[in-house]
């Protein structure tokens, strides 16, 4: 279980202090949590704080009761946190298979690599030996990014807008991938998303707006409010209509 306690994150820009996150406290159990809310509200920053890429100004992060606030990205990854970036990184020279192997922690069999790739709607034969460079499209990179998280198989998996850049056909598969993940990993899945179809399969929904948790609860509690309140989440409305 992941717990955020009073997380604040402040940056200084043009000698002005700006609060990106303000006193965010959250508990994420072994379930399927979707974090949503307007763009610029602090969702991606929160994911980066959980994974150790960004250090909070104050507050604590606990993973299964252990304080991981001061742990490095590497240590947190080894403790079981995975993160699919919103904008996947390109590597000249490293192939899809190289990255899957690194994600898995040991060399994957071709069959296993194939399995992870097909789960994200890509044919392994066409992809595993390709370099993860500019020759891959944004949508292909996103799917490979998700396959890497599948290959890690950790207890907490965080996806930052996995649907962005994925076509409709793949999107249907993606929903299935997330359902399958929840069944297999038996861990926590956190997805940052604006998509109603992803919100629809959430156990738990957290709304982050203006650096704060503005709403949280079960899907049944939160989703109806989101879909009727244009003020709380106009961006969401734009995307789901």
């Amino acid at each position: 279980m992941l717990e955020l306690q009073n997380i604040c994150y402040q940056v200084t820009e043009d000698s002005q202090d700006i609060d990106i996150l303000r006193n965010v406290s959250l508990k994420i159990d072994d379930e399927f949590t979707v974090i949503t809310g307007p763009n610029g509200g602090g969702k991606s920053t929160m994911a980066k704080i959980i994974t150790g890429i960004v250090k909070p100004t104050s507050g604590k992060i606990l993973l299964d009761g252990e304080d991981i606030t001061d742990l490095s990205i590497t240590d947190r990854a080894r403790k079981g946190i995975s993160f699919a970036f919103q904008q996947p990184v390109r590597f000249k020279g490293l192939t899809v298979l190289d990255l899957l192997n690194l994600a898995h922690g040991e060399k994957l069999s071709l069959d296993a690599a194939c399995q992870y790739m097909s789960e994200v709607g890509l044919c392994a034969r066409d992809y595993i030996n390709r370099e993860v460079n500019a020759s891959l499209s944004g949508g292909e990179l996103k799917r490979i990014e998700i396959a890497m998280v599948l290959a890690r198989g950790t207890k907490l998996s965080i996806f930052d807008e996995p649907e962005a850049g994925i076509d409709l056909w793949s999107f249907n598969n993606l929903i299935r991938v997330f359902e399958e993940m929840r069944r297999k990993i038996e861990g926590s899945i956190v997805i940052i998303s604006h998509q109603e179809r992803i919100l629809n399969i959430a156990d738990h929904i957290v709304v982050i707006a203006d650096g704060q948790v503005s709403e949280q609860g079960t899907r049944e509690e939160v989703l109806p409010k989101l879909l009727t309140s244009s003020e709380a989440c106009s961006t969401l409305m734009d995307k789901v209509v």
Binding site: I73, F91, K92, R152
Partner: protein, 309 residues
């Protein structure tokens, strides 16, 4: 010819030619300036030059799926070895040529090997040329390798050259020139890593003289420590042709890289492109691999070895 391959030579052969024993097919092993093993086949002849050090490698027209290995090993500190190797590749042949030089310098004197390789590639012939350079040894003496490659390509011939220098060479000046006739294609892939105080200079000059001749010259390099690299690549388009040159370098520590791609178009239908990018490892690449559980150092190693793969 008696085989005189000792443990050190065996180790060096593995490094420069991925050979674990005496190669199959045609080969010529040069060790400390003398011949230490040779084999010829029905289609591939190797003849020592009489006027200067070196060999002629003569590949009969139509030779298919054969290989020639010509590794050079220098383990005698202070030796300055100069060799001229000329390759005559007959029409319609399809062969792989593996060259390479390993210097093991255990003494304090400068050890040097300068190999001058000239390729005459016949019509419609196809050549894959793999060249590796490697240095090692505890001695304080410098290890210097200055390879020169001269390529003449007849109509519709094809050559792919993979040249690699990953470790242990203190100083290198690598000159490659090529002249391409109608329909000839030349692909060059260079990989270089320098460390410590090493210096590596690469000079490519490709003349696209023939109609529909094509060249693609790609260099990837990593400069670590206080090492320096200079990359000069010039493609001249003298006819309707296509040329592309690319230099991609990763800087580490206090490495220094100069890239000078140059294009010279002498014909309205010449299409020439150059690209050059130099920079340190992107922070986001390190971060991504660290989120997979790698330490920063492991991430760096993976990125560099992938880049030079």
């Amino acid at each position: 010819m008696a085989q005189k391959i000792d443990q050190l030579q065996k180790h060096m052969l593995e490094k420069i030619a991925d050979l674990h024993s005496v190669p199959e097919g045609a080969y010529n092993i040069r060790s400390n300036g003398t011949l230490s093993g040779r084999n010829t086949t029905a289609n591939i002849d190797i003849v020592s030059k009489e006027d200067k050090p070196g060999i002629d490698i003569i590949i009969k027209p139509g030779t298919r799926n054969e290989s020639v290995h010509i590794p050079v090993i220098v383990s005698q500190s202070g030796l300055k070895d100069l060799v001229y190797n000329d390759f005559y590749i007959g029409e319609d042949a399809d062969v792989t040529i593996v060259a390479g030089c390993g210097i093991h310098c255990g003494g304090d004197d400068t050890t040097e090997h300068d190999g001058i390789h000239t390729f005459h590639i016949g019509k419609n012939a196809k050549v894959k040329y793999v060249e590796k350079h490697y240095g090692e040894g505890d001695g304080a003496g410098e290890r210097i390798l200055n390879p020169t490659t001269v390529i003449y390509m007849e109509p519709d011939s094809y050559m792919e050259m993979e040249t690699t220098q990953i470790k242990g060479v203190d100083s290198t000046i690598r000159d490659t020139t090529a002249k391409l006739e109608d329909g000839a294609t030349l692909i060059i892939k260079e990989k270089i890593m320098t460390h410590g105080k090493q210096y590596a200079e690469t000079n490519f000059q490709v003349d696209l003289d023939g109609v529909d001749s094509t060249a693609n010259v790609v260099s990837r390099s990593v400069a670590k420590g206080t090492s320096r690299q200079v990359f000069n690549s010039k493609i001249c388009g003298n006819n309707k042709c296509y040329g592309h040159t690319e230099c991609d370098a990763i800087l580490m520590d206090e490495g220094h890289v100069v890239a000078v791609p140059s294009l010279d178009a002498n014909n309205l239908d010449a299409s020439l492109i150059h690209e050059a990018a130099i920079g340190k490892i992107a922070g986001e690449q390190l971060t991504k691999l660290m989120t997979l559980g790698l330490t920063e150092q492991e991430a760096e190693e993976q990125i560099v070895s992938g880049f030079l793969k």
